[in-house]
C-alpha cells in the first residue's frame, strides 16, 4: 500500500516508526563521527613545524582540510601523496618516495606525520619499509622525523586516529632523547604534560593554561594546536604558526607526569607513556567540564605537582559556582538530549547533573565498554540522571525518533544536530565537532571554570530567548 507524503510525514514521528528505526542493523544514518585520518592530522597539527601527510588517495585529504577549515575558519595544511589506480595494483611506494621529497622541499617541515587513508590500508602498504626506502633514495634527510600511524577508517573513528598519531609522534620523538641529564633536564621536573585530546574548542587549551598559571603549575601541552587553529590575522600568512616545540616534546618524558584530558582519544597514548617513560606517572580522565570534573582535574593535578590549591584559584572557582547558583532555576528540571564524542558527552552530562538538569537521551556514535559502564555509573549517581538512557553506537536518525516520541527541551551537540532539533522544535546548543554554522564557538572554552560559565550562559540565554520570542503580550516581561 503506497503512502502519501502527508501520511509519511506523520508516520516518521510515531512510536511505531521509532521501533522500526531502532530495529535496523545495517544502515547507519547521520552518524556523528568522522574517520581516523582526520583525527590523525588534527593531532599532528599540534606540533611545531609539522606537516601532516596522508598516504593514500587524495580525495580524503581534500575533505579533511575543508572540514577542519570550516569549523575553525582557519587554513589547514596537509599533503596527500595522491595514490591512484596504478598504486592500487602496485602499492604506494613510489608515491611515498616522490611525495616525501616534494613535501620536504616545498614546505620545509621539521617533522612529517604520516597517516593513511582507507585505500593504503586495504592494500596493506608497509609504511615503515616504504619510509625507509624513501630515506635510502635520498627523498628526505636521514634525520627528518617521520612518525607514522596506520589509521584505517573501518576501525573506530577520528578519535582513534588522534590517539594513534599522537602516540606515534611521541614515540618517535622520545627515541631522539639524549640520555644525558642536562641542567635543563632538572628544570623540567616541575613541568606537567597536558594532552588535550581531540578537542575542537581551541580555547580550552588556553583556559587550562590560564588555570595552571593561577595555580603556579608549569606545563607543557602535548599536541598544542591552539596557535595553529586560532592564529592572528597580521597581513602575513605563515604555514607553521605554533605547536608544541619538538625539543620539548622530545624531552617530555623527563617532565613530572602526564595528564590527558580525554579518555577515549588517548587510551593507547597513555598506555604507551605508562609503559615506556621511566618514572613518569601518566593517566587520563574525563574532560574537566562543569564544576565537579574541573575540581577533579584541579585535585589530581595538584596532587601530581605536590602543591596545595591556591586561594587565587579558589576565587576563580567561586565565580563559576556563583554563576551556577545564580542560574540554577533555568536549568533545574529541564530535559536535555546530548550527543557527540564519548568524552565530551560525559563532560556535558556531568555538568547538567550538577546543575539539576535532566539528561534524557544521551547518544554517541562510538563508545567502549568502559565508557558505557562509567556513563551508566555517572547517571545512576544523581537523582537527575534517573530518566536518562545511554545510546552508544547510535546515530542522529535514531536521535530524531527519540526526540519526536519522548520530547526534551534542548539538544546539545555539533551542527549536524540541527535538523533533528528543528523537527523537534527545540534549541541546539553547539558544543563539539564540527560547528560550521555559527561563528567563534571554538574561541570559547567549554572546560575549566570559565567553560562552566560559558555553558551556563549559552544554555540559559537560549531558553530565555525562546521564552521572549514565544510569549504573548501578557507574559512578555522585563524580568526573567
Amino acid at each position: 500500500m503506497t503512502k502519501t507524503v502527508e501520511e509519511v510525514k506523520e508516520w516518521i514521528n510515531t512510536e511505531e516508526y521509532k521501533e522500526l528505526n531502532f530495529k535496523r542493523e545495517a544502515v547507519v544514518i547521520n552518524p556523528p563521527k568522522a574517520c581516523q585520518p582526520l583525527g590523525a592530522i588534527f593531532a599532528a597539527s599540534g606540533f611545531e613545524k609539522t606537516l601532516p601527510y596522508v598516504h593514500g588517495s587524495q580525495g580524503c585529504t581534500a575533505y579533511f582540510r575543508s572540514n577542519l577549515s570550516r569549523h575553525y575558519r582557519e587554513p589547514f595544511s596537509t599533503v596527500s601523496d595522491s595514490m591512484t589506480e596504478d598504486a592500487a595494483v602496485f602499492g604506494g611506494l613510489n608515491n611515498i618516495i616522490e611525495g616525501l621529497r616534494n613535501a620536504h622541499v616545498l614546505y620545509q617541515p621539521s617533522l612529517i606525520a604520516m597517516s593513511t587513508s582507507c585505500m593504503a590500508e586495504v592494500i596493506g602498504d608497509d609504511l615503515n619499509a616504504f619510509i625507509g626506502q624513501a630515506r635510502e633514495k635520498g627523498s628526505i634527510p636521514e634525520d627528518l622525523p617521520i612518525p607514522f600511524a596506520h589509521t584505517p577508517s573501518f576501525v573506530g573513528s577520528h578519535i582513534t586516529g588522534y590517539d594513534s598519531m599522537l602516540k606515534a609522534i611521541l614515540e618517535n620523538l622520545h627515541k631522539r632523547q639524549k640520555k644525558t641529564t642536562s641542567v635543563k633536564g632538572s628544570e623540567r621536573t616541575s613541568l606537567i604534560n597536558i594532552i588535550p585530546g581531540f578537542d575542537p574548542h581551541v580555547a580550552n587549551i588556553r583556559e587550562i593554561q590560564y588555570m595552571l598559571g593561577i595555580m603556579g603549575i608549569k606545563n607543557l601541552i602535548l599536541a598544542d594546536n591552539s596557535d595553529v587553529l586560532d592564529s592572528p590575522l597580521t597581513g602575513e600568512y605563515a604555514m607553521y604558526t605554533g605547536g608544541t616545540p619538538l625539543e620539548d616534546a622530545i624531552d617530555a618524558s623527563k617532565n613530572h607526569g602526564t595528564i590527558a584530558l580525554q579518555k577515549n582519544s588517548t587510551m593507547n597514548t597513555i598506555k604507551y607513556i605508562q609503559e615506556e617513560w621511566e618514572n613518569h606517572p601518566a593517566f587520563n580522565m574525563y574532560p574537566p567540564m562543569g564544576i565537579k570534573l574541573t575540581d577533579d582535574f584541579v585535585e589530581k593535578i595538584s596532587d601530581l605537582a605536590g602543591i596545595s590549591v591556591s586561594k587565587e584559584l579558589e576565587k576563580y572557582r567561586g565565580r563559576a559556582v556563583d554563576a551556577a547558583t545564580d542560574a540554577h532555576q533555568y536549568i533545574h528540571g529541564k530535559r536535555f538530549a546530548v550527543f557527540g564524542d564519548p568524552d565530551e558527552v560525559y563532560g556535558i552530562v556531568s555538568f547538567l547533573l550538577e546543575m539539576g538538569g535532566e539528561p534524557i537521551h544521551v547518544l554517541t556514535a562510538t563508545g567502549s565498554k568502559t565508557f558505557k559502564r562509567e556513563m551508566e555509573l555517572l547517571l545512576a549517581s544523581s537523582p537527575h540522571g534517573q530518566g536518562a538512557k545511554l545510546y552508544a553506537g547510535f546515530d542522529l536518525w535514531h536521535m530524531r525518533s527519540l526526540l519526536m516520541t519522548d520530547p526534551v527541551d534542548m539538544m546539545i551537540g555539533d551542527s549536524h544536530g540541527k535538523w533533528a532539533a528543528r523537527d523537534a522544535n527545540i534549541p541546539l546548543i553547539r558544543i563539539g565537532y564540527p560547528i560550521v554554522d555559527r561563528v567563534n564557538m571554538h574561541r570559547y572554552p567549554v572546560i575549566g571554570y570559565q567553560g562552566a560559565i560559558n555553558m551556563i550562559t549559552w544554555i540559559v540565554n537560549a531558553f530565555l530567548e525562546e521564552l521572549d520570542r514565544n510569549s504573548d503580550d501578557a507574559h512578555f516581561e522585563l524580568l526573567r
Partner: protein, 477 residues
C-alpha cells in the same frame, strides 16, 4: 595586467622551489595566455604530483558530491567506511525543496559504515540489507544509488549484482556507481562515471507528459544557494519550459524523461557534457552551452537560445533583456565605482574559472589569473574566449604555487575555495569562496548578479581590512 614576459618570469621563479622531476611536471601546467601562440596551452587532467598539496578531490566527490547527491528523491548510499560520506554531508549547498526525510533526502548521510569484518568478508550482504532497511524506513524514495568509496573496489565486492537483485526486490531502480576515489585523477572521472550510470540505468525509462515545443532540460546546474531556481525563472520568462534540471533540486523522473525535451541547455560543461553527447547521439537532442553569470553573458546566452527557437521566443528574449537590463544597469551604476578596476585571481572547478569572468568584467573588474582544479583540454580551449594576453593560467595549482602567485601578482581579490580562503585572508587579501558562494547566492541569472555584485563589494570594501595594521605600524608613524 602583466605583460607576457613578466608573467613568464613569475612562473619561472615560482617553479624554482621544486625538485627537478616535479619542476618538469609542474611547468607544463602553468602558462601565460598568449593569443598568438597556439602551442602555449597548459597540460591538464593528469595525476597530481604526490606531496605538493593539491586542492583536488576524488571520483566519489565528483559522483556523490556533484552529480548524484542533489537528486532529492533518491537515497544515496555512501558505501564503505564512514568518512567520505561524513565530509560530503550537506557541505555543498545544493538546495532542494521537499520534506526532509519524507521525499527529500539531500541533507542526509546514509552510510554502510564499513567495519573490519566488512573489509575482510566483503560488504555485499550488508549492502543488500541496507537497501531493504532504507526502503522500509523511507517509503517515498524513488530509487537508490550506491556510491562506492575506495575500499569497495579493492576488496572485489559485486555491487552490480546486489543492485540488480534489489532493483527487482523493491521495484525501484538501485544504481551501482563505481566512483571509488582512486579512479582517475580528480573529481572529473567521478562526473563521467556518474553520467554513465545515469545513462545505463535511468535515462529514457519514463515518458514526459504534456510535451511542448519549448521543452528544455537545464543540464549542469546544481542549485548552489538556489542558482537553478534563478536560472529556471530566467529561462521561463522567455517562454521556454524547463522540464528537467540536472541535478539541482532534481527528481528521478526529471532524469528519466529528459530525452523527450527539445534541447539540452548545459551550464557546467565539465561535469555533464557526457550525458549531452549521449542524448545527442542516441536521441538526436541538440545541446548548447550557456553562461548564467553577469548581464552581458546572460543576454548573450538568451539570444543564443532564441536563435534555436522561433520568433516568438526571440521576441520574448529581447523583451526580457530590455526589461531586466534596467535593474542590471542600476546594479552596475551602484557597484562599479566601488569595485571597478580591481584585479581578481580565480581558482575553482567545473566552469567557473571561465564563466564568472564576464560577471567580474560587467563590474569593471579584471581577471588576471585563473585555473581549474580538474579541467581538461577542452576547458582550457574554451577559456581562451574569455581572457586577454598576460593572464596567468594554472592547472591543478598547488598550495605553494597559488600563494606565490598571489604574493607576486598582488590581486585585489582572490576567489577560490574553502581550503584557500583563510590562507589569503591571513595575508589581508579580500576573498570569496566560489564553490559555495561563501554561504550566499544565488549568483545565476539576473537576480544572482545583484547578489554577486553586493558580495564582491562587501569582500573588497569591508572596513575590517582597515583593522589589519594597527595605527602605530602604519607608514609615516
Amino acid at each position: 595586467m602583466l605583460t607576457i614576459e613578466e608573467g613568464k618570469k613569475i612562473i619561472e621563479e615560482v617553479l624554482e622551489a621544486y625538485p627537478e622531476k616535479t619542476k618538469l611536471k609542474r611547468e607544463k601546467h602553468l602558462a601565460v595566455h598568449e593569443e598568438a601562440c597556439s602551442t602555449c596551452g597548459v597540460k591538464s587532467n593528469v595525476k597530481s604530483a604526490p606531496g605538493v598539496m593539491t586542492a583536488r578531490g576524488c571520483a566519489y566527490a565528483g559522483s556523490k558530491g556533484v552529480v548524484w547527491g542533489p537528486i532529492k528523491d533518491v537515497v544515496h548510499i555512501s558505501h564503505g567506511p564512514v568518512g567520505c560520506g561524513h565530509y560530503s554531508w550537506s557541505t555543498r549547498r545544493n538546495l532542494a525543496d521537499g520534506i526532509v526525510g519524507v521525499n527529500n533526502f539531500v541533507p542526509f548521510h546514509f552510510t554502510s559504515d564499513f567495519q573490519e569484518r566488512d573489509i575482510v568478508f566483503g560488504g555485499d550482504k550488508k549492502l543488500e540489507k541496507i537497501i531493504h532497511e532504507i526502503n522500509g524506513l523511507f517509503p517515498l524514495n524513488n530509487g537508490l544509488s550506491i556510491q562506492s568509496e575506495c575500499p569497495v573496489g579493492l576488496i572485489g565486492d559485486d555491487i552490480e549484482a546486489v543492485a540488480k537483485k534489489t532493483t527487482k526486490d523493491i521495484g525501484k531502480p538501485v544504481v551501482p556507481v563505481r566512483c571509488e576515489g582512486f579512479r582517475g585523477v580528480s573529481q572529473s572521472l567521478g562526473h563521467h562515471i556518474a553520467n554513465d550510470a545515469i545513462r545505463d540505468h535511468i535515462i529514457g525509462t519514463k515518458k514526459l507528459d504534456n510535451k511542448t515545443k519549448y521543452d528544455i532540460a537545464l543540464i549542469g546546474d546544481y542549485n548552489i544557494g538556489g542558482d537553478a531556481w534563478e536560472a529556471k525563472k530566467l529561462l521561463e520568462e522567455v517562454g521556454l519550459k524547463v522540464r528537467s534540471i540536472w541535478s539541482g533540486d532534481a527528481t528521478l523522473e526529471m532524469l528519466q524523461t529528459a530525452p523527450d525535451v527539445k534541447l539540452n541547455v548545459i551550464h557546467c560543461y565539465r561535469s555533464m557534457n557526457y550525458i549531452c553527447r549521449h542524448m545527442e547521439e542516441t536521441y538526436g537532442i541538440p545541446w548548447v552551452e550557456i553562461n548564467l553569470f553577469g548581464p552581458t553573458k546572460v543576454a548573450e546566452s538568451l539570444r543564443k537560445l532564441g536563435e534555436l527557437f522561433d520568433d516568438h521566443i526571440k521576441a520574448n528574449v529581447e523583451k526580457a533583456i530590455e526589461k531586466n537590463m534596467i535593474a542590471m544597469e542600476k546594479t552596475i551604476e551602484k557597484y562599479k565605482p566601488r569595485v571597478g578596476g580591481k584585479k581578481v585571481m580565480l581558482y575553482v572547478g567545473g566552469l567557473r574559472p571561465r564563466h564568472t569572468i564576464g560577471a567580474f568584467e560587467d563590474l569593471g573588474m579584471e581577471v588576471v589569473g585563473t585555473g581549474y582544479e580538474f579541467g581538461h583540454k577542452d576547458d582550457y580551449e574554451r577559456t581562451k574566449d574569455y581572457i586577454k594576453d598576460g593572464v596567468i593560467i594554472y592547472d591543478d595549482v598547488t598550495a605553494y604555487e597559488f600563494e606565490e602567485f598571489v604574493k607576486k601578482i598582488n590581486p585585489d581579490l582572490v576567489a577560490s575555495g574553502i581550503k584557500e580562503k583563510y590562507v589569503f585572508q591571513k595575508m589581508g587579501k579580500p576573498f570569496r569562496q566560489m564553490h559555495s558562494w561563501d554561504y550566499s547566492g544565488p549568483y545565476h541569472g539576473w537576480g544572482g548578479f545583484e547578489i554577486f555584485s553586493r558580495d564582491m563589494d562587501m569582500a573588497l570594501n569591508s572596513p575590517t581590512w582597515q583593522l589589519v595594521t594597527p595605527k602605530w605600524r602604519q607608514a609615516g608613524k
